[in-house]
């Protein structure tokens, strides 16, 4: 039963106006992305009903809010993971987990207590009090507590932002695991490109209370006319398959639709795995002929698809197609002019670095 999440909100807050009109897929992980202050958290709070905003909202066919209906927070079948953990300090981990679980009818409990506890690795923590947990452990308990209400929509407000780098790395695999395991749609607020690149299937980009762009992650990030100022982080995401490992040079060959890339590898890149790769626009350069005598390993034939003047002055964003896979290259406008690049032209892409994002 995958439907859609449709929303339409328009309201004024002090110094800020939210004007969001969206239709998102009713499954998978959708990232609400934007700089701080763009309204992504406010939008999430309006969806939860924590903030009152005129408009309408329906989730997979169920109306939660319109001109006649306005379900209060506790009657919306959602779960919310907050930026700071809000574990109840007077309850043990187990009692915290049971807080929502006990409040939904038994027939609605789609996820079992023991399953969720084991997915998030909490079995050893059940008798502890929240004050005695590390930041990462607390956030894992908060995620489990949210899941145990078997929500029909999971809202996550920058769940990693309050954590240090190590705790982030500790939680990310759990999030990936949940994304793949759960049928419920997840809305994930973030201002981190790397988190979004790693987790999201779909992206909604916000700026000043408005949605400026949205769509499937890979296609949206591959648009050359970026209205959303990713600046240095602009680049494409692609899914590849590891087809060969070269242990002498610690490299792995990743095949994708339209070519192959050599990656520096570590032990987890086994043949047959399907990592998500990120190629930043600033790491791609263009040559009209194949340049064999140089250090860059990844040289791919591609076709110029589109050229757009970039936000930064004097630069252009060029979209290239290698087979059906798009790449972006950020060049100076002068280079575009001297090379005489035009759409449809065959060129060689030189890719300086490829990041493995999951």
């Amino acid at each position: 039963m995958t439907g859609r999440i449709d929303l339409d909100f328009l309201c004024e807050f002090p110094g800020f106006r939210l004007d969001a009109h969206l239709s998102m897929p009713g499954s998978g992980l959708t990232a609400l992305f934007g700089h701080s202050g763009c309204g992504k958290t406010t939008l999430l709070r309006c969806i939860a009903g924590l903030q009152t905003c005129a408009g309408s909202l329906s989730v997979n066919g169920e109306v939660w809010q319109d001109s006649k209906v306005h379900l209060p927070v506790h009657q919306r079948p959602l779960a919310y993971v907050f930026q700071d953990t809000t574990l109840f300090p007077h309850l043990s981990v187990k009692r915290n987990l049971e807080f929502g679980y006990r409040r939904i009818p038994e027939s609605d409990r789609a996820l079992s207590f023991d399953d969720v506890v084991s997915w998030l690795g909490l079995a050893r923590l059940l008798t502890r009090m929240p004050a005695g947990l590390s930041g990462g452990e607390r956030q894992r308990v908060a995620i489990a507590r949210a899941l145990l209400t078997s929500p029909r929509l999971l809202l996550m407000d920058e769940p990693l932002s309050a954590l240090d780098q190590r705790s982030k790395q500790e939680i990310l695999p759990y999030l990936e695991n949940l994304r793949d395991r759960l049928a419920m749609p997840i809305l994930y607020v973030s201002h981190s490109v790397s988190e979004v690149a790693r987790l999201a299937d779909h992206i909604v980009i916000m700026d000043q209370g408005q949605v400026v762009d949205e769509g499937p992650l890979q296609a949206t990030l591959a648009r050359p006319d970026q209205r959303f100022g990713l600046e240095e982080d602009a680049g494409v995401i692609l899914t590849a398959r590891i087809s060969e490992r070269d242990d002498t040079w610690h490299l792995a060959r990743a095949e994708f639709d339209g070519g192959e890339l050599w990656l520096r590898t570590d032990d987890r890149m086994t043949v047959g795995s399907r990592p998500r790769l990120q190629v930043l626009a600033r790491d791609v350069s263009i040559a009209l002929t194949r340049q064999p005598d140089q250090s860059i390993q990844n040289l791919l034939p591609a076709t110029v698809d589109d050229i757009v003047t970039d936000i930064a002055p004097g630069t252009s964003m060029v979209r290239l197609m290698a087979g059906s896979t798009p790449f972006l290259a950020r060049l100076t406008s002068r280079s575009v002019h001297t090379l005489g690049l035009t759409p449809g032209q065959p060129v060689w892409m030189q890719i300086k670095s490829v990041a493995i994002v999951d």
């Binding site: 506790h74 907050f82 953990t85 809000t86 109840f88 007077h90 929502g100 929240p130 004050a131």
Partner: protein, 226 residues
């Protein structure tokens, strides 16, 4: 001797206990409202609640006597309802004590409620807890120390009241003659031995109450970490 000692003591405990119980029931919603509202009436109402702190008890007692008397609004109402007049009755004393001790209930509770971060209530709401459910399962346990302080302060303050009792209750044995008034009586009559017994037992009682309060509150407890 035994009789004249225990009667005021029992009356004092009854008055303080009943006042505390009723004030916790009445004061909790007032404190909650004051802690959460942005209404323009918040400041005036907070000031009214705090008035008994600054007014001399005799002023409070004097106006209560007028209002609850046969010419007063409340007095006429209670007479119409068939309750009769409240001054110089135990019930009248309870009403007066409640007003007199109101800030001692409301202020600790309000402070405790204000320190319960709104995030916990929002989290509880997203975990399907209704407003009343949230209050009893999140706010009350987290404001536990506030309730303890409010209860003990109200109880102790009521035991210690004198001026209001004298104005509104007089000195009727078994009805309004509480310990503080009885001590005053004994001293007036130069019965120092009796006065000593009562006064010393009040000192001891107050000390024990306060020590147990601090012991209860000071118990090491997992502090909230956010």
């Amino acid at each position: 001797m035994i009789e004249t000692y225990w009667e005021p003591a029992w009356l004092t405990l009854k008055l303080a206990g009943l006042t505390t119980l009723l004030l916790l029931v009445v004061g909790t919603p007032i404190a909650w409202w004051l802690a959460r509202t942005k209404h323009w009436l918040r400041q005036p109402i907070a000031a009214v609640v705090a008035l008994p702190l600054v007014l001399p008890p005799t002023v409070l007692g004097f106006y209560l006597l007028l209002v609850m008397g046969p010419e007063g609004v409340v007095g006429q109402l209670t007479e119409k309802l068939g309750i009769g007049l409240l001054p110089f009755t135990f019930e009248g004393l309870v009403v007066a004590s409640m007003l007199y001790s109101l800030p001692f209930t409301v202020q600790p509770l309000q402070n405790a409620f204000e320190s319960v971060h709104a995030g916990f209530l929002e989290a509880a709401a997203t975990l399907r807890a209704s407003p009343l459910d949230r209050f009893f399962t999140v706010v009350v346990p987290m404001a536990r120390n506030g309730f303890l302080t409010a209860g003990v302060l109200t109880f102790a303050h009521t035991i210690g009241e004198f001026g209001v009792v004298l104005m509104i209750g007089g000195n009727i044995p078994g009805e309004t003659k509480v310990l503080s008034v009885a001590i005053y009586d004994h001293v007036e009559a130069l019965e120092y031995t009796q006065a000593h017994w009562m006064a010393a037992s009040m000192v001891a009682f107050s000390f024990v109450v306060l020590v147990s309060l601090y012991a209860l509150k000071g118990r090491p407890r997992a502090e909230m970490v956010r």
